[in-house]
């Protein structure tokens, strides 16, 4: 722990602040999640679509109006939930990043300690070793320590958790982007992936058919 403190004097304070923020954001997301996981938003949305029973008749006109007007009450709450989820994911990412940085910073302390013990000796004439020589010695020590650290279980777990948190955050961001895209009538990333999947599968089928029927060996397909 002493190493962590020395590596970053603001570390404990930042970590405490981060933890507080994370707890708040998680709690907020939890509330939103409980809300959205219940049937309530679904019913609210259905109710809003029907004008809460106050507007009878002319469903088609209202549906068209809704399509033009974008989200209504329940959608807006759902969007809030997504924002809260993204904030919680961001907070989790920062927490994992802080954890990773603590693990990644340790070899620097060990390298510094070793360097002080082994640094190039002062020459007989009183001149210090050249800066390049000193830098070379430092690089070699630090390199060994960094590589050894990267192969440790602790480092591998920390980087895996960071990757998981980063991917999760990116997915939460995409949820927001997809929601906005849906409101504006823009195809989402998922739509694009669906199209490219169909395209790839169609190509495979087409080429399988081509291979089955084409025995001529004539050049032609794919000519530059």
């Amino acid at each position: 722990m002493a190493e962590q403190g020395e590596a970053n004097p603001f570390g404990p304070l930042a970590a405490q602040w981060m933890e507080t923020w994370r707890t708040m954001a998680t709690a907020a997301a939890g509330l939103s999640e409980n809300w959205s996981n219940s049937m309530l938003p679904f019913i609210m949305k259905r109710a809003a679509e029907s004008g809460f029973g106050a507007a009878a008749g002319n469903d088609l006109a209202e549906a068209i109006e809704r399509m033009a007007g974008g989200p209504r009450l329940a959608d807006a709450l759902d969007f809030d939930r997504k924002l809260a989820n993204m904030a919680a994911a961001w907070s989790e990412l920062q927490s994992k990043l802080a954890g990773y940085q603590v693990v990644a910073s340790r070899p620097w302390m060990r390298a510094a300690q070793q360097y002080n013990e082994k640094k190039p000796q002062t020459g007989a004439g009183g001149d210090g070793a050249g800066w390049r020589e000193q830098l070379g010695a430092w690089n070699e020590l630090a390199n060994e320590e960094l590589i050894a650290n990267q192969r440790s279980e602790e480092f591998l777990v920390a980087q895996k958790q960071l990757l998981q948190a980063a991917t999760h955050f990116r997915n939460r961001q995409s949820e927001i982007a997809d929601t906005i895209a849906a409101v504006l009538g823009i195809p989402t990333q998922r739509d694009f992936d669906d199209v490219t999947r169909q395209l790839t599968e169609l190509r495979r089928e087409l080429r399988a058919l081509e291979r089955r029927f084409d025995t001529s060996g004539e050049p032609g397909r794919g000519d530059a």
Binding site: D127, G128, G130, W131, R132, L135, N139, E140, A142, N143, L146, I147, A148, Q150, R151, L156, V157, Q159, K160, L163, Q164, T167, H168, R170, N171, S174, Q189, F192, D193, T196, R197, T200, E201, R203, R204, R207, G217, P219, R221, G222, D223, A224
Partner: protein
């Protein structure tokens, strides 16, 4: 107050460094992107299939090896590593030895190529390229020259289509993805260890989220393997070469190659990381492509396996493993000093790599 005088050596060093930094800034502002040309050896586009292109290099000398050679790089980085600059180019050296050299270039895959699998690369793109080379040259079978992941693709192709392959040359190619455990050098094999540390679901989520394996992400993993070199690249290494135009251009070309790292197509990345790096299916005989098992013992063509003894990305033990799995008795190895990239771009390895390959080819060119 301290009576200690400033270290004259350190002061001079600092002044020297400052002067070089200023010079570096001035010089770099005058060099244009077009001035830093990579992959510049002349070649002609012969076929295009989706984003994949088949090229034929223009000969530099009289053809000595009759069998055409198709070069295939992997999907991590680009083929330009084999043709970085005129005096550091495997491509140019091989052309100088009289080879009829072809190249399959995967282009710049992005999210559009998310669903492509290794099956597509081996059984469609490479197969179409091989058929085209055969048609253009009148040969029934050709030689494949695979680099890194491209070596795995060509190995799979040779096992699945032995009648189309007259010879197989592999460079820095992983075959046994768990053999890093047999390599005593702790600087080697981080990529193997890192991939095994991931959950399978992590790989799926990463690929599904980004629609592929982002090139920038893989660059950062590679940087971890040589940490201090990565940290001192722009503040020490660049300054060291700034007053030597030739070395500066080498540095910039290398940087250009490193920056040109397209995303690895998604489904193919899942196979690469899960089936091969995690499950080691290739040497277990469990790797499936297009519904067929890749059986390395079906490789009947002569094989030349070239690897670098200080390869920190593909440990030599991972490459060397091929020998015990192939069906052919004509199996040779060339082990060269240097690292994964150094094998292709260092001035030391230029002659030995291309000479080793061309002599091996010439001896089997009947």
């Amino acid at each position: 107050m301290s009576s200690k005088k400033p270290d004259k050596g350190a002061a001079d060093g600092f002044a020297d460094m400052t002067e070089k930094l200023l010079k570096a800034g001035k010089l770099l502002s005058t060099i244009k992107d077009d001035d830093v040309d990579v992959g510049a050896t002349p070649k002609k586009l012969v076929m295009r299939r989706d984003k994949v292109e088949l090229f034929r290099y223009e000969p530099l000398t009289e053809q000595r090896v009759k069998t055409p050679v198709l070069l295939a790089y992997g999907l991590i980085g680009r083929y330009t590593m084999a043709d970085l600059q005129e005096d550091r180019s495997l491509v140019r050296s091989l052309l100088g030895q009289g080879l009829d050299l072809w190249l399959v270039d995967w282009g710049q895959p992005n999210r559009t190529e998310r669903w492509l699998t290794i099956d597509d690369y081996v059984d469609d793109y490479i197969h179409a390229a091989v058929e085209r080379v055969c048609r253009e040259t009148g040969h029934k079978a050709i030689t494949l020259l695979g680099i890194c992941e491209g070596g795995v693709f060509t190995t799979c192709y040779a096992a699945l289509h032995p009648d189309k392959v007259k010879g197989l040359v592999l460079t820095i190619t992983p075959i046994d993805f768990h053999a890093d455990r047999d390599d005593p050098d702790t600087h080697h094999g981080f990529l193997n260890l890192w991939t095994r540390s991931l959950e399978r679901a992590d790989i799926d989520r990463l690929v599904d989220t980004h629609g592929g394996l982002p090139g920038e992400f893989m660059s950062s993993v590679f940087s971890l393997m040589t940490p201090m070199r990565s940290l001192t690249k722009y503040n020490i290494d660049l300054i060291d070469v700034i007053d030597d135009e030739a070395r500066l251009m080498n540095f910039l070309r290398m940087e250009k190659w490193l920056a040109d790292r397209p995303a690895h197509p998604g489904e193919a990345a899942k196979q690469w990381l899960k089936d091969l790096y995690q499950d080691n299916k290739l040497v277990k005989g469990e790797f499936m492509l297009s519904g067929r098992r890749v059986d390395l013992s079906r490789i009947s063509a002569p094989v030349l396996n070239v690897f670098a003894l200080n390869d920190h990305i593909i440990p030599p033990t991972c490459s060397r493993a091929l020998g015990e799995h192939v069906g052919t008795k004509d199996y040779s190895e060339i082990e060269l000093p240097g690292g994964h990239v150094g094998l292709f771009v260092s001035s030391k390895s230029q002659g030995s790599l291309s000479k080793g390959i061309s002599e091996w080819l010439l001896a089997r060119d009947q």
